[in-house]
């Protein structure tokens, strides 16, 4: 109950009983002491200036920037490692290069955080019941090789690896929630949107990749074999819309 009226009115010339006083006052206070509801606040009463101010923190360590923002209606969480932001490099220098010839990786999903300086590019936060909606942005290059075949008297120079591809996935608490298609050889920046319902719980979000590549064939081939998966930047940001 949120609206009330005097239950035991005092009548002129009648005796004032303590019970009447107690009941009337208790009822009035009882409403304020934890029973105020929508009947006490008109619709459209919550204006923007009634919201408490948001809190924002941003920390850069291990060449990775983590941003947390807590507002009245929504939270944002972000983690980024990018060549032009955290490494002070230009757009052409990778922040990490995974040698697909020599590094350990599988044809299944590989965690980006397992490779070199990308080890802090994951989000780990306390979500509030509602919806998580966000984007993972990855700037990478997995390209064709150019190789030399030599037979007895003839030398062929060809591009090699037209069937190589890379795929990226966003994992929320180890569950795949969004993925790219197979991306054939090139440098590309992918914006991978995702949306998942969430309870009030711990949430961890990370990027994972899988790829197809192969070793050069032909004998002898020239130079040192390389199969780089170059990472120029990774950024995961998420909006937690609270109920």
């Amino acid at each position: 109950m949120s609206k009330h009226y005097t239950e035991k009115p005092n009548v002129r010339f009648s005796q004032v009983k303590s019970e009447n006083l107690n009941d009337n006052i208790t009822k009035t206070l009882g409403e304020v002491n934890g029973n105020l509801n929508s009947n006490n606040l008109p619709v459209d009463a919550l204006t923007f200036d009634k919201f408490s101010s948001p809190n924002r923190t941003s920390i850069t360590s291990n060449a990775t920037t983590k941003l947390d923002y807590e507002g009245a209606t929504q939270d944002y969480h972000s983690v980024r490692r990018w060549n032009t932001f955290e490494d002070s490099n230009d757009m052409w220098e990778p922040v990490e290069s995974i040698n697909l010839q020599t590094e350990n990786w599988s044809t299944g999903w590989n965690k980006l955080v397992d490779y070199g300086t990308m080890d802090y590019t994951f989000l780990d936060f306390d979500a509030k019941e509602g919806i998580l909606t966000g984007n993972a942005v990855i700037d990478f290059h997995h390209g064709l090789d150019r190789i030399v075949y030599q037979s007895d008297d003839t030398t062929f120079r060809v591009f090699y690896g037209f069937d190589w591809w890379t795929e990226w996935g966003v994992f929320v608490n180890d569950t795949l929630v969004a993925e790219t298609s197979w991306i054939y050889a090139r440098r590309i920046t992918c914006n991978i949107p995702f949306k998942v319902p969430v309870g009030s719980q711990k949430v961890k979000i990370d990027l994972r990749w899988r790829a197809v590549t192969s070793n050069a064939v032909g004998t002898p081939y020239q130079g040192n074999p390389t199969r780089p998966l170059d990472i120029f930047g990774a950024h995961i940001w998420v909006r937690n819309v609270k109920r």
């Binding site: 303590s18 304020v32 934890g34 459209d44 923007f48 944002y76 757009m91």
Partner: protein, 226 residues
């Protein structure tokens, strides 16, 4: 103070003015806090939907076919049939130091021209690349300042940054999309947000004149205040 205490009168007590007025005086002075309200009472109808918003969305869209072309190795604002690819915020658009801007852009990469994609030995990495960025212009008093919200890169061809052989040129990749996004932390209270624009440049290419070509493009920005 959220809760109001009250000592009940007993049979035979003679209430005085102080005792009778006390609960009402306390009620007048109380600060309503979360323990004063019932659970699950607020509805969306209690939020005022006029005036300043927790989120404000702005959008720029060019859906024509006029191409923006550049061989410039420094960032240039993309222009669409003579008009810049830019969100210009209404005068007086102000944000505080705890706020953030979330922005993204996408578009179509058209008939690019690639005369060199590098030699694949790591010394000419940049030849094969071009990039985009979102640039915010703001004012905290004094002259306008700029900052980068997000940046992204693409290659002209499929060639790897490192290849076994340093000869040859792969064919260019035409007609594909670009897309990227980012967050920007507003630096100060009363920061005036002027504009956000989409810019592009090509990598140093040894004078070979690689050219970027962009047609349709758009920018979205959300001013996040609470």
């Amino acid at each position: 103070m959220g809760q109001i205490d009250f000592t009940k009168f007993r049979e035979g007590d003679t209430p005085d003015a102080t005792g009778l007025n006390a609960p009402y005086d306390d009620l007048a002075a109380v600060s309503i806090e979360k323990e004063n309200t019932k659970p699950n009472w607020a509805t969306r109808a209690h939020f005022d939907d006029t005036g300043e918003k927790a989120n404000e969305l702005f959008f720029y869209d060019y859906d024509g076919v006029s191409a923006f072309q550049t061989t410039n190795t420094n960032y240039q604002t993309i222009t669409n049939a003579g008009n810049p690819s830019r969100i210009t915020f209404p005068a007086g658009t102000s944000m505080d130091g705890a706020h953030i801007i979330r922005a993204g852009a996408s578009g179509i990469i058209g008939d690019i021209i690639c005369n060199t994609d590098g030699d694949g030995d790591g010394t000419q990495d940049s030849y094969n690349y071009f990039s985009f960025r979102l640039l915010v212009t703001y004012n905290v008093g004094g002259g306008n300042l700029t900052d980068v919200i997000a940046e992204c890169g693409y290659s002209y061809t499929r060639r790897s940054r490192l290849t076994n052989d340093s000869t040859g040129l792969d064919s260019a990749l035409w007609w594909r999309n670009f897309s990227f996004s980012g967050l920007w932390a507003v630096p100060n209270n009363n920061t005036q947000i002027i504009s956000i624009e989409l810019q592009a440049k090509v990598g140093p290419n040894g004078g070979s004149g690689n050219q970027l070509d962009v047609t349709r493009n758009n920018i979205n920005a959300v001013l996040v205040r609470n």
